[in-house]
């Protein structure tokens, strides 16, 4: 089995050959001075990527959901009140994780595909005091791009800590941890960082670290206990668990590529390719399910056209073109496609290949549309838009 796919689903995304090459370097020990140096480099590059000076910035030894759980179990003690904003699968997951950690969770909901308005959060925070407010910046199940900065002051004025899910956004659109005063933020290696899945970058502000230090109870997860893990990532280098050595080689290389491209350029690339895809899809009458104006650049959630078979289309894309796109989750199952343009997969080449392949599948299914129209629209869509 040595299959090459074009990964245009909700993640993992395509991994550059440089990163795969780094992944395959000989394994060394987790206490080897050379590995410690790698962890230091990762921390510095993560600080750049998260746009933060937080000393507690590191990669957890698990996938994105482990990062979510890390933030929650380290901040929450049994009985703590937490407000979770839910407009898709990942907000729901956050509430579930928080309840398992003993939080008294209040669920604030809007319809899938929509974003939260600051006013709505303000009202919720006037009714009750919370220790933590959690929200998802890039809701991968709906393609909604939640504005994060606009809510920050409201959260902090209420005295709560601000927890942001940046699993799908980090490296693909602006995530400004310090500028937006985010207290705890987590991501995944396999989305816009284009590293294989297996690590979860997290960062904690000083206020979040203090909240951790004030805990009266032990963190319920030994594996994710940052009070212990910080002694390994910190100057003490105390053994906690055996870090996934090779995954860290890969993450370091992926982060170097982010730095070399520069964040601003990378965000711009993601946005340009998103607009091109959107323009092409519109020309064959395929539209986003997401609230207008808040579509994520790296995760394009579109309504499957009437009469078109979800599974048949995705299977054809996979078997005939090696293209993976995502189906809908939950209420969107069978109704929505999720087209990823993440990290190394966010290229003009992928946009055009996908549009052409999709057109072929639609044509094979007898769907009514003007063949070639999406490509025509995409290639003539004009100058790339600068952010």
């Amino acid at each position: 089995m040595n299959l090459k796919r074009v990964l245009m689903g909700p993640g993992p995304s395509d991994v550059d050959a440089r990163v795969l090459e780094a992944l395959a370097r000989p394994t060394i020990g987790h206490l080897d001075p050379n590995f410690i140096e790698i962890l230091n480099e990762i921390r510095e590059l993560l600080k750049y990527t998260f746009q933060t000076r937080n000393e507690m910035t590191l990669a957890m030894s698990g996938t994105g959901s482990a990062g979510m759980e890390t933030c929650i179990v380290n901040l929450i003690e049994p009985g703590d009140a937490m407000l979770v904003c839910i407009n898709g699968v990942f907000g729901n997951r956050m509430a579930d994780v928080a309840e398992r950690a003993g939080a008294e969770v209040t669920r604030l909901e809007v319809d899938w595909g929509r974003i939260f308005e600051p006013e709505q959060i303000k009202r919720a925070l006037q009714k009750k005091k919370y220790k933590v407010v959690g929200i998802v910046q890039a809701e991968t199940s709906t393609g909604a791009h939640q504005p994060i900065k606009e809510i920050s002051d409201i959260v902090h004025e209420s005295g709560a800590l601000y927890l942001v899910d940046a699993v799908t956004s980090l490296g693909g659109t602006k995530v400004d941890v310090d500028g937006w005063q985010i207290d705890a933020c987590y991501s995944g290696s396999q989305k816009c960082l284009s590293c294989p899945p297996g690590l979860s970058p997290v960062t904690f502000s000083e206020a979040a670290v203090k909240a951790m230090e004030r805990r009266k109870t032990k963190v319920q997860s030994w594996y994710l206990d940052l009070n212990m893990i910080r002694q390994y990532w910190g100057s003490e280098r105390l053994y906690h668990h055996t870090a996934p050595i090779n995954m860290n080689y890969a993450l370091l290389e992926a982060l170097k590529m982010v730095k070399e491209e520069r964040l601003e350029k990378r965000w711009e690339r993601h946005l340009n390719n998103h607009y091109m895809l959107k323009t092409g899809l519109a020309a064959i009458d395929i539209h986003y399910v997401t609230q207008k104006g808040y579509e994520l650049p790296m995760l394009n959630a579109v309504t499957i056209p009437e009469g078109v078979d979800d599974l048949k289309t995705r299977r054809q894309l996979l078997s005939e073109f090696n293209i993976e796109i995502g189906g809908g989750l939950g209420v969107f199952k069978g109704k929505v496609w999720r087209i990823g343009l993440m990290g190394a997969a966010s290229t003009v080449s992928n946009v055009l290949l996908f549009l052409a392949a999709l057109e072929k599948s639609l044509y094979d299914q007898g769907h009514q549309f003007e063949p070639g129209a999406s490509i025509a629209a995409a290639i003539t869509y004009g100058n790339p838009i600068k952010e």
Copy 2:
């Protein structure tokens, strides 16, 4: 950074080029039919390696300690009584994890380096009823090889579930999950399986699965909740979290190598190289801290000779010979070396290289011994012992 070490510490161990090559294959999606096939193959090979027919046999997306936490949080509900046998760091860790999961933990202890006698466990089980009894087969901090089979009946007669830590033992010495009636067992990818760290194989017996199904409370960890994860590894293939794709490629390749060599041959190889090392060390008056007759074949814990500098020796081994060995943990810090002969690192070549390198370091430090004696003893030690 592209450093090649000889990994003779407590893990990670040397990784074969075949496994590194598999690791670097192009990433595919976690719901790709080809990846699902890989998970199926991993399960079958893990069943062979664990010597079990347990359907719930899979690799958790974390390192060995995540496997420990998985077993505990899935079996324990708040208030459940658990007996933990402690004779080193990993027994201690098990108790810590169990307490964080809300277990009422009773600690049964013997001195570091010693093993538990069945009688001792019998007495403890007569005093109180426990839901789970946890014990470490290969205590990596002391090199003690705990007999597991001998205690199984005692545990089951008491009505408890039998939880065994096989992190360091699996693939290097006999682990017979079905034959020894182990109810829950976890391991790590980076010890005698010689895969990079990042995955933790676990297996649950029918009785353990039933205990899980009878739970009244949710598993406190969302990330490690086997009730959810089994739906991804099972026929439903329901999305839970994004599996570490490339790490699973590597584990599959490593398990194939275990199967090709055959378990019995592999155990024998580990034992033979252990005896050779032991014979060589004895000739220069270096001896095991572990209870006589219960030394682990893959983890050799020896007393640092009087007058020899721990750090200086380990640094010289690393810088001059690229050999990593482990220092002592806890009460053994500065007093003990831990020499791993795990998986791909368990070779005659490594034994002789290590002995020669150690002799040079001892000589450079002015230590009194007969130069060449360890090599002489090792190469003349006679016919390999068959198990």
